[in-house]
Structures are given as structure tokens and as C-alpha cells.
């Protein structure tokens, strides 16, 4: 399997070339184009109920798509929904990456995905932070809104929840509120995650909630 990330950081596109017998799994909706001889199947990973739980709790699509090269090699082009970058990492067996739910793009079939409940913390604090836990072995591709910066943490580091892409499971986090009266209109603004431990946090340079807040005044006004 070969992979290539092009057109980054603004409008990154992932091209995966599969050899016969190889598969790649992607977020449903991520497919931009593919060779017509690839086999495409949609399924709810981990069964319907688990998939439904993911949908309800993780905000991520219920279905995922699997692309398989049967007798001939072929390529598939994958893109996230938002403008921004894509990153690839190799997860060793048993190692996990926590991803903000809309940051998941694709993975190799042996990577398992679980909804980690945002560690209940994210959910109940209104942070709008829903996390998926991706566990190796295998490769995973994830995406950001804007560019993606890598922040090594040794000790403590604070990140606005709207700027979190993902982080290594070796880090612990707690959610707290900062910055005055923000967040009245859009959940997630003004809340930060305080990371502790040693590991890497991936941050995105733009915040979807801030973008939504910018667009809000331009919405039509309801006629009463």
C-alpha cells in the first residue's frame, strides 16, 4: 500500500494505492474518486448497535466505506469535509490515538475505532468534544480545519477545545472554562483542555465554532 498527501495544507487530498488483496477503510463521504475496479462496501463498523452509539455519541458517520483491490491494484482519492491538512501516522500494536470525532479520515483495516465518550468530561461540560479512540496496529489518516501543528507536551499544556485535532493516549486531560462570557451561543468556545503527562497534541489553526459564530449574523431572520 502506498499513500500520498497532496495539495496540503489548504486543501489536502489523500491518495491511497492498493495492491491486490489490500483494503483501506474511510469515513463515509470521504471518497473523491477511485479506480472503477476497486470494490466498495459500506458497513457499520463493530455492528449496528456499536455503530449507532458512535453516531450518537461521537458525531461521526454511522457508516464507513471499505475500498478493496481484488485482482488488480488500484487507487482511491479521499478528502475530509473541511478545508485543511491531513496527517498520516503509524500506530504500533496496542498504541492509541485519541481523535476529535470529525478529525478521522481513514485507516488500515486492523486499526480499531472506539467512541471514548469524550471521557464523559467533554460531554457533560458542554465542550462539544467527542473523542474516538483509534488503536493500532496500522496506519491512520486524520485531518484538521486549517493547518495542523504538532505540540510536544512534557508537563502541562492548555488547548482551546475547538482547536484540538487529537492527542496520544499517554496524555491525561481535564476541561475547564476560560475567557469571560464567550460560549453563550456556540458550545465549545471558551473551554480549554488542560493536558498533563508526556506525549503529542495535534492542534488545528482554525476553530470550526469560531467560523460558525462568524457566519451566524448572516443567516436569514425567521419571520414571526
Amino acid at each position: 500500500m502506498q499513500s500520498r498527501i497532496e495539495l496540503n495544507p489548504e486543501y489536502a487530498l489523500l491518495e491511497v494505492t492498493l495492491e491486490p488483496g489490500e483494503k483501506v477503510v474511510a469515513e463515509s463521504g470521504a471518497m473523491v474518486g477511485m479506480d472503477s475496479h476497486l470494490k466498495l462496501t459500506s458497513q457499520s463498523r463493530g455492528g449496528i448497535l456499536k455503530g449507532l452509539a458512535r453516531k450518537m455519541l461521537g458525531g461521526e458517520s454511522f457508516f464507513q466505506s471499505t475500498f478493496e483491490a481484488e485482482s488488480a491494484p488500484g487507487r482511491v482519492l479521499l478528502a475530509p469535509g473541511a478545508p485543511g491538512d491531513i496527517r498520516e501516522i503509524e500506530l504500533p500494536a496496542g498504541r492509541s490515538l485519541m481523535l476529535q470525532s470529525s478529525a478521522y479520515l481513514a485507516s488500515t483495516p486492523d486499526v480499531t475505532l472506539d467512541t471514548k465518550w469524550g471521557g464523559a468530561k467533554g460531554f457533560f461540560s458542554g465542550a462539544g468534544l467527542f473523542l474516538l479512540k483509534a488503536t493500532g496496529p496500522g496506519r491512520i489518516w486524520f485531518n484538521s480545519f486549517g493547518a495542523m501543528a504538532t505540540q510536544a507536551v512534557a508537563g502541562q499544556f492548555v488547548v482551546d477545545t475547538g482547536h484540538i485535532v487529537g492527542f496520544e493516549e499517554t496524555l491525561n486531560y481535564s476541561i475547564s472554562k476560560v475567557g469571560g462570557l464567550k460560549g453563550l451561543l456556540f458550545s465549545g468556545e471558551g473551554l480549554v483542555a488542560r493536558f498533563a503527562g508526556t506525549g503529542t497534541v495535534y492542534v488545528q489553526t482554525r476553530n470550526p465554532a469560531s467560523f460558525a459564530a462568524f457566519l451566524h449574523p448572516f443567516r436569514p431572520v425567521k419571520n414571526e
Binding site: P9, E10, P83, G84, D85, G146, A147, A149, Q151, G155, Q156, F157, V158, V159, D160, H163, V178, G179, G180, L181, K182, E189, G190, V192, R194, V201, V203, T205, R206, N207, S210, F211, A213, F214, L215, H216, P217, F218, R219, P220, V221, K222, N223
Partner: protein, 223 residues
């Protein structure tokens, strides 16, 4: 203090490295992440005006009314700052005064005084969110643009659309004007402009947030 700009121009982010005793002030939504050792202090924009005045500004201009100040006390640390919109950042080495369109302010050295300049009636005719801040002092001033940023050296009268204005030097004088008839003001979208005279630099953004909002907004459900 050392400020590094990365991911320009589309998804620019500034990393401000502070040594012990140094501080940096930023618009309240700009913080992406920071060293946990930094202390963050929240205040309304003008110390005199307080929250109510801040709130009035918020309602009138759409601008946020809190500023956060990041202090490095005993150990160094860094804070990452980014604007809400897609676009570039520019680091201006302020020495004196600069007039800044309010949505373009990202942050500044804390001794720089940020004054809200209501500017009277004429500015409200300048269109959505058109509101100027006056930055006075010496030190780094961080500004954002929707799209790319372009520096223009004005030596003879120059006109720009209000939605494209980022900042200008106080040696320039400006008036808000209509171009064309009242009819074209209401129907063409090109109606209101800033008419600059004098000599000095001004900075413009290559996209107009109001135009972009006008394209996407009507596709959203009513509020």
C-alpha cells in the same frame, strides 16, 4: 519576546514566546493553546468602560469585548494565537499610532493602548462590523486579514471598499463616501468606500467578510 508566524497565508498562526516578566494581550477568541505555566487574565477592552460599555460595543459592532493577557511569571512559555477566519497575519512594529479595523485586531504588547474609536455616525454607515480601533504605543501589534494582506503606499487620493480595510497610518485622513448614486449604493454592493487623502501606508485584505457572509448566510436555516 519572540513572535513567529507560521502556516501563512491561508491558515496563519502566531506563536508568541514570552520570557519571565513578559506579557502579551490578545482578542479573547484567539488563543489556540498555551504553556500551562502562563497565567491568563481576562479583562474588558477599556479599563474605564467596564463590562456594560463593552457589551454595548459587542451588540453594535459584533466585536468581542474581552481581551486576555498572558503573563510569563517565573518561567518562559509560549501562547499560540489564530484569527477566526481564513487568512493571513501581519506583525506590525508599532511606534506611534495605527488605526485598525476592529475585526482585524488579534493581539499586542500590553503597554500598547487599544482605544475604541466609535467615530460617530459616519462609521455606522460604513457597513457591517466596520468599526475602528486606535492602537497607540510602541511594540509588536498582530493583525489578521480575511484572505491575503496587501500593503498600499498612498501618495495621492485612494479609494478602498470598507469591507477590505485592515489598517492605516494616522498620517492618512479618511472619509466614508458613497460612490455613484443612492440607487447603486443599495443595489450594487459597491456603494460605501473609504476615501483616503494624505500620505502613508494602508493595509487591505483580499477578501471581504461581508461578501462571503452574504454568499453562505442565505443557505443556512433562519435564526
Amino acid at each position: 519576546m519572540e513572535i513567529k508566524l507560521e502556516y501563512r497565508p491561508a491558515y496563519s498562526m502566531a506563536t508568541v514566546n514570552l520570557n519571565p516578566g513578559e506579557s502579551f494581550r490578545a482578542e479573547s477568541g484567539a488563543m489556540v493553546g498555551m504553556s500551562a505555566e502562563l497565567e491568563m487574565e481576562t479583562s474588558s477592552r477599556t479599563q474605564k468602560g467596564g463590562v456594560l460599555k463593552g457589551l454595548a460595543r459587542k451588540l453594535l459592532t459584533g466585536e468581542s469585548f474581552f481581551l486576555n493577557t498572558f503573563h510569563a511569571r517565573t518561567v518562559p512559555g509560549h501562547v499560540m494565537l489564530a484569527p477566526a477566519n481564513v487568512g493571513d497575519l501581519v506583525l506590525h512594529d508599532l511606534n506611534g499610532e495605527l488605526l485598525v479595523q476592529s475585526t482585524c485586531y488579534v493581539g499586542s504588547e500590553p503597554s500598547i493602548d487599544i482605544q475604541t474609536k466609535l467615530g460617530g455616525f459616519k462609521n455606522f454607515f460604513g457597513g457591517r462590523g466596520f468599526f475602528m480601533l486606535k492602537a497607540v504605543g510602541k511594540g509588536p501589534l498582530l493583525l489578521s486579514a480575511f484572505g491575503a494582506i496587501l500593503e498600499v503606499d498612498v501618495t495621492e487620493p485612494f479609494i478602498i471598499d470598507t469591507g477590505h480595510l485592515v489598517a492605516f497610518e494616522p498620517t492618512l485622513d479618511f472619509k466614508i463616501r458613497r460612490v455613484g448614486s443612492w440607487f447603486s449604493t443599495f443595489f450594487s454592493g459597491e456603494g460605501l468606500v473609504c476615501h483616503f487623502t494624505g500620505r502613508g501606508k494602508l493595509w487591505i485584505q483580499s477578501r471581504n467578510p461581508g461578501e462571503f457572509g452574504g454568499i453562505v448566510g442565505p443557505m443556512l436555516p433562519p435564526r
